[in-house]
Amino acid sequence: MTSEEASLSTTPARPRPWRDPRLRGVVYQIGFVAAVVGFAVFLVHNTMVNIGRQNIATGFGFLHREAAFGIGESLIAYSPADTYARAFLVGLTNTLYVAALGIVLATILGTLMGLARLSSNWLVRKLAQAYVEIFRNIPLALQLFFWWGLLNRMAPGPRAAWQILPDVFVSNRGVVFPVAQANPANGWIGLAFLAGIVLAVGLGRWAKRRQAATGQQLPTGWIGLGLIVALPLLAFLAAGAPLTLDVPQLKGFNFSGGGAVSPEFTALLLGLVIYTGTFITEIVRAGILAVSWGQSEAAMALGLKSGQRMRLIVLPQALRVIIPPVTSQYLSLTKNSSLAVIIGYPDLVSVANTTMNQTGQAVEGIALIMAVYLVISLTISAAMNLYNRAVALVER
C-alpha cells in the first residue's frame, strides 16, 4: 500500500462482529479454554478440600523421610532406612534395567522371527507365524502370570532345581548361572576387545579409501569381526587361559556363588520380550515387503549378488519403514514394564504404589510416575524425530 487512502479503499468492509470468522474463532477458543480451566479448578478445589479434611500431607517433603520398606532386588545399594527418594531411584533403575534388556532381546527375537516369516522354507514360515498369532493374541498380564507361575509357584525348591543347561539351575528362588571370576587378566582382555573394535573401524576406513583409489575390495565385515573376537582370545591365552568360573553350588537350602536373577525379573523379562517380539516380527516383515520387488529386480539386472542386494538396496529402504513403528514398540515395552506390579518385581510403579499406600499422598506419587514416563517418552520420540529427519527420502 502506498497511501492511507488506497489501503482504505482496498480493505474489504468489516462484517458484523458476530459474523466475523476470526472473531468467532477467538470467542470459541476463549470459551473452550475457560471450560477446561474451570473444570480443572473444580477438581483442584475438591482435591484441596478433601485432602484438608482427611489430614493428608501435601508436597514432596515425604521424599526425604525414611521409606521403611524393603525392596526385593536393587541395582544400587538400598536399605529400608533409606529415604523415599532413594526408593524411587531404585524403582527407576529397575524399570530402566528391565526395559533396556527387554528392548535388546525383543529386537533380536523380532528380527529373527520377521526374517523367518519371509523364509522360503514352509515349516519355518509357519512356525514363525504360529509364534506371532499365539503370543500376540494373549494379554500380556496373563502371560506374566503364566511365566511367574511356572518359575515361582511351580518350580521346585533349590534342592530339586531343574538343571536346564550345565551349571544353570531354575528353582523357585530364581535362575542361577555361572559367571567368570574376577581376574587381573580380565582388564587386559577387555582392553584387547576395545583394541579389536578400534582396529576394525580403522580397517573399514582404510578399505574404503583403498576401494576409492584402486577398486579392490576387502571383506571388511568378516575381518573386523575376526579382529574383535581374536584379539581378546589371544589376550586370554597369553595370560595363561586363567578361566575360573564361579559356579553356583547348593549350600543347605539355597544356592551360593554364581550369578542369579529372581523369578519375578525373569518372568517379567520373558513376558515383555516374547510379547513385544511378536509386534516387532510383523513390523520387520512388513518393512521388508514394503520395498517393492522392482527394486530387487533392478539390482539383479545390474548384477548385484543377493547379499549385496539385501545390504545395499533392500535394508536401507526397509529400515526407514521399520524404525519408527519399532520405536513406538520400545516405548510400549517400557510402559508395559509397569505390569511388574502384578508379579511383585519392584519397578518404579510398584515402589510408587507402596509409597502411596504408606503415605496416602496419591497425587504426588502419581505425578512422579507420570513425570518419569513422560520424560522417557518425550526423549525417545525426540530422538525418533531427529532420525526421521535425517533419513527422510528427498522428494521434490
Binding site: L123, I138, L142, R153
Partner: protein, 366 residues
C-alpha cells in the same frame, strides 16, 4: 500381501499330479537347498521335543475326573479342576441362582460383535441395535426392576465384566476420540494445544497409572460426600485412556483425506460441522476401520489390568480360582483355559481386520 518366497521365480512343472505334486511341493518348500533342509530337520526336531511332553501332559497323562485337588496330582494335567471351577472362572461371584443373567449378557455381547462385523448393518441401524444391547446388558446385570433381583457391581465378574469394560469403554471413547482428533487438526491454536496435550499425556504414560488414579485420586477429585462405584471409576479411566489411542488412529484417517474434498464441500456452501459430518468423517472413518479394530484388540487385552485395582475380570476370577485350598497348584491348567478364551476373541478380531484390509486394498486399487 504376498510372501517374498512366493514372488521369487520358482520352477513350476506342467500340471503335475498326485505323488509328483506332493514331492514337488516338498522339494520346493522344505528341501530347496542344503541350508533349507537342515532348517527343516531342526524345526521337526524342535517340534517333536516341544510337543511330545505337552501332549503327554495335556492328553495322555491327564486326569479328567477327581473329587478334590489332592486326588488330582499326577504326572499330567488336572482337567477336573477346570470342570470344578469353570463356572466360577467365567462368571465369578455372580449369584449362582441368577447365573442365566450373565450367560445371556455374554450372548448379547457376542451378537452385538457379530452384527457389527456384517458390513450391511453399518450405519444408524447398528447404532440403535448397540444402544438397545447395552441397555439390555445393564438391565440384566444390575436388575432391580422387572422382578429381577438387584446385583451389586462388586459381584459383577468374569467374562461379562471383561466384555463390559472393553465394549462400553470403546463405545464411549469413540465419540470423544473423534472430537479429540478433530481438535488436534483444528485451526484454533488453543483448541489444538489442549487436544495435543491430552493425547500425548495419555499415550506417554502406562495404563496402570490411570487405573491407580481412578482408584486413589478420583475420590479426591469429587465434591465431599459424593462417591463413585469402583467399577464406574475403572470404566472412566478406560474411556479416557482409550480415547487418546483411538484419536490418533482417527487422525491418521483425517490426514489421508485430500484437502480438495474439504474445498469442494466448502465451495458447495457447507459449514464446518456439515463438511465434517457429511464429507470428511465418513471417508476418514472408513479408511481406518482395520487399525480401529486393532486398537480395540489392544484395549480388550488391556482390560486384564483392572486386576491391580482388585476388580475381578476374567483374569481376576482365574486367579481367584487358584486360591481354593481344596484345589491347589493348577496354574497351567487355569491359565491355559482363559488364554484360549482371550485368544479366540483376539484371533477372530484380528482375522476380521485383516480381511477388511484386504477388501479395502482391492477396492482402492481398482
Amino acid at each position: 500381501m504376498t510372501d517374498i518366497a512366493n514372488e521369487l521365480p520358482a520352477p513350476t512343472r506342467r500340471s503335475p499330479t498326485g505323488v509328483v505334486r506332493i514331492v514337488g511341493w516338498l522339494r520346493a518348500n522344505l528341501f530347496s537347498s542344503v541350508f533349507n533342509s537342515i532348517l527343516t530337520l531342526l524345526c521337526v526336531v524342535l517340534l517333536v521335543v516341544a510337543l511330545r511332553p505337552m501332549i503327554r501332559w495335556a492328553v495322555i497323562d491327564a486326569i479328567w475326573e477327581a473329587p478334590n485337588g489332592a486326588a488330582c496330582h499326577g504326572g499330567g494335567a488336572c482337567w477336573a479342576f477346570i470342570g470344578e471351577k469353570f463356572r466360577f472362572i467365567l462368571f465369578g461371584f455372580f449369584p449362582t441362582e441368577e447365573l442365566w443373567r450373565p450367560v445371556v449378557v455374554v450372548v448379547i455381547f457376542l451378537l452385538m460383535i457379530l452384527a457389527a462385523c456384517a458390513r450391511r448393518t453399518w450405519g444408524g441401524r447398528l447404532a440403535v441395535l448397540w444402544v438397545a444391547g447395552l441397555a439390555a446388558v445393564y438391565l440384566l446385570m444390575h436388575g432391580g426392576i422387572l422382578g429381577l433381583g438387584t446385583v451389586e457391581t462388586r459381584l459383577w465378574s468374569g467374562l461379562p465384566l471383561t466384555l463390559i469394560i472393553a465394549i462400553v469403554g470403546m463405545v464411549f471413547a469413540f465419540p470423544l476420540a473423534i472430537l479429540l482428533a478433530l481438535g488436534r487438526r483444528s485451526r484454533l491454536p488453543a483448541v489444538r494445544a489442549i487436544c495435543v496435550g491430552y493425547i500425548e499425556l495419555i499415550r506417554g504414560v502406562p495404563l496402570i497409572t490411570f487405573l491407580f488414579m481412578a482408584s486413589l485420586m478420583l475420590p479426591l477429585f469429587l465434591p465431599t460426600g459424593m462417591t463413585v462405584d469402583k467399577l464406574l471409576r475403572a470404566q472412566i479411566a478406560f474411556i479416557l485412556f482409550a480415547a487418546a489411542y483411538l484419536a490418533e488412529v482417527i487422525r491418521g484417517g483425517l490426514q489421508a483425506i485430500p484437502h480438495s474434498q474439504t474445498e469442494a464441500a466448502e465451495a458447495l456452501g457447507l459449514r464446518y460441522w456439515q463438511r465434517t459430518r457429511l464429507i470428511v468423517l465418513p471417508q476418514a472413518l472408513a479408511l481406518v476401520i482395520p487399525p480401529l479394530v486393532n486398537t480395540f484388540i489392544g484395549i480388550f487385552k488391556d482390560t486384564t489390568l483392572v486386576i491391580i485395582i482388585s476388580l475381578f475380570d476374567l483374569l481376576g476370577t482365574a486367579e481367584a480360582a487358584l486360591s481354593d485350598v481344596n484345589w491347589q497348584g493348577f496354574y497351567i491348567e487355569d491359565y491355559t483355559v482363559i488364554a484360549s478364551i482371550y485368544f479366540c476373541f483376539c484371533f477372530f478380531m484380528s482375522r476380521y481386520s485383516q480381511m477388511l484390509e484386504r477388501e479395502f486394498n482391492r477396492g482402492t486399487r481398482r
